[in-house]
């Protein structure tokens, strides 16, 4: 499948950028970025119609990264797809930088909403979707959230609203890595039965492997008769064995040695 192979290639390059950015900037949340980067790569490999030449079109698709702490993943994917110069990545989090530690839109092409406080992306995306439905405008709205973010009340307010307004143009993708700030999501504030909750709120729902490029793209493209949620089961720190499934890498940034070994591991993979 064309989308899957393009996404896989993009994700591999983006992972290396993420590791470099977080290492050079001594910034946190590398684990969250590695968790979500496959989802973003699929979205920007043909699932959405967002391109550099239609960025100001009113009816193009929209992607909002609501888990703003995984900013390095979004920036890497957008830079690799040519939305802004790759050099911007070098100064990530630095003084006077264009790219902040949490998603900062400041006129950057392709960055729709500045995020960083959880629970903001879904209501905002819902507003765009509703406005388009009323105006008869095309274009889907994809909102990527973390699972911990589903603790926020706005998630469930918006779940009601999207169903009430029958927003078939709204797709939520949940990066279900099961680890939040301190512990496992189920130890922190139980979400399960998670998929059933969304279904009971009237949403179409799909449970997929969040690192399977074909499965992700199929889930994103499949038709839906209401708002759609994709629960993408992921691994925090995916792709770097010593970072996987570890709360520590929500906070730590790789030192020089760890960076080399992490990049080597990514490059070795097919």
């Amino acid at each position: 499948m064309k989308i899957a192979s393009a996404a896989e290639e993009l994700a591999k390059a983006a992972r290396i950028e993420i590791l470099k950015m977080t290492s050079f900037a001594k910034a946190s949340h590398v684990g969250s970025a590695l968790s979500v980067v496959d989802i973003l790569s699929v979205l920007y490999s043909g699932v959405t119609n967002i391109r550099t030449d239609n960025i100001s079109a009113k009816d193009r698709d929209v992607v909002i990264l609501s888990k703003g702490h995984a900013a390095s993943a979004l920036y890497s994917v957008l830079a690799l797809r040519g939305f802004f110069p790759k050099e911007f990545l070098d100064s990530y989090c630095g003084n006077g930088a264009k790219l902040g530690g949490h998603v900062t839109s400041s006129e950057l092409a392709g960055v729709e909403l500045s995020t960083g406080s959880l629970g903001h992306g879904l209501p905002y995306g819902l507003g765009i979707a509703l406005s388009r439905k009323i105006g008869g405008d095309k274009g889907k709205v994809f909102v990527i959230m973390s699972d911990g973010e589903c603790d926020e009340g706005t998630t469930w307010e918006s779940a009601l609203l999207a169903n009430h307004h029958e927003l078939t143009n709204l797709v939520v993708i949940i990066d279900r890595n099961r680890i939040q700030s301190l512990k496992d999501t189920e130890e922190t504030l139980k979400l399960e039965p998670f998929q059933r909750k969304w279904e009971n709120f009237g949403w179409n729902s799909i449970d997929v492997d969040g690192h399977d490029f074909s499965a992700l793209s199929k889930a994103m493209i499949d038709e839906n008769d209401g708002p759609k949620v994709i629960i993408a089961n992921t691994t925090k720190g995916r792709g770097v064995s010593f970072m996987e499934n570890s709360v520590l890498w929500h906070y730590r940034s790789p030192n020089d040695e760890e960076l080399s070994s992490a990049i080597a591991e990514i490059e070795k993979r097919k």
Partner: protein, 303 residues
């Protein structure tokens, strides 16, 4: 004031289909006409203020001019971070409209008293605060708000406010509104407390004291020329149905300091001595230092 707002907005919205009115499930007897005449420009977001402000911002990002209507603190303090991040940070064209300023819903209890809203909204970057005094100021500002694309907060009284401006009202955007002139002092005020201010002026006249009255509906854009035009040799008081912490008087004093002007203003603000006090608007104004006798007292002391 709320009727003047809705009537004016409906008039503007008929001409501009990008105008959208969202309510947080409030406005019984007020919004029905708008909803029935322009159903595709009306949304009831339910009792979900945080998501309502977020979705308002999202709609505005697509080119809509979104008005969000609710009561008291619900569309402001309840959804403060959505306003800060999604509206102000993103500079989205949303107008937050709160009905029930000050003690308008007095007997409903402190949850329904809007006494810190100006301070909280004024603290936000890119936010413009509007506080009209009567239906004519409300109409004028509502028309301006449809045209300008800035994040805005419109603070309204409730209903039945007396009109003290001349009809038609001409008022330059951002300027003081001089309602009466007077040689013996000045009352600056904002919002529906104007009814007590006018009553205070009328009483002072019977006592041979003539004070000027100035309404300040544009709280975020107080200009130097207007401050310089005040007669600082006579007493100046600033009356607001709001806490002293961060409201109109604070805004005036900040500008006076910035411009290094030598003007003294005495604050007459809601004292908030007992948050559990119950009573109608007039009762609570009197209990909290905003009654007519309290306003007039500043001029007797100084004459």
């Amino acid at each position: 004031m709320r009727d003047a707002f809705v009537r004016t907005l409906l008039d503007e919205a008929k001409r501009d289909k990008d105008v959208v009115l969202i309510t947080g499930d409030l406005g019984f007897g007020v919004l029905e006409k708008f909803e029935s005449e322009l159903p595709s420009q009306f949304i009831n977001a339910g009792v979900a203020e945080q998501s309502m402000l977020g979705l308002a911002a999202g709609m505005a990002s697509t080119g809509k001019r979104v008005f969000v209507y609710s009561i008291g603190n619900f569309p402001t303090i309840r959804a403060l971070e959505q306003i800060r991040n999604d509206i102000c940070y993103m500079n989205n064209s949303v107008v937050i409209v709160a009905v029930g300023s000050g003690y308008s819903y007095g007997s409903q209890g402190y949850t329904h008293h809007a006494l810190e809203d100006i301070a909280v909204m004024r603290a936000l970057p890119n936010m413009n605060v509007y506080s009209p005094a009567d239906p004519l100021e409300t109409e004028l500002i509502t028309r301006e708000l449809v045209k300008n694309q800035k994040p805005s907060y419109l603070r309204l009284g409730r209903s039945g406010e007396r009109i003290f401006n001349r009809n038609p009202l001409t008022l330059e955007n951002g300027r003081f509104n001089q309602i009466h002139r007077g040689k013996d002092g000045t009352i600056l005020f904002t919002g529906s407390i104007g009814s007590n201010v006018i009553e205070a002026r009328d009483f002072l006249l019977t006592q041979g004291i003539e004070v000027g009255v100035i309404s300040i509906p544009y709280i975020s854009s107080i200009c130097k020329a207007d401050l310089e035009s005040l007669d600082s040799t006579k007493p100046i008081i600033s009356v607001e149905e709001h806490t002293i912490r961060g409201g109109l008087t604070s805004a005036l004093l900040e500008r006076i300091s910035t411009f290094r002007l030598n003007i003294q203003i005495v604050p007459v603000t809601a004292e908030q001595n007992n948050l559990s006090n119950i009573g109608d608007q007039n009762y609570l104004r009197n209990m909290n230092g905003l009654g007519v006798p309290q306003i007039t007292s500043y001029f007797f002391q100084n004459n």
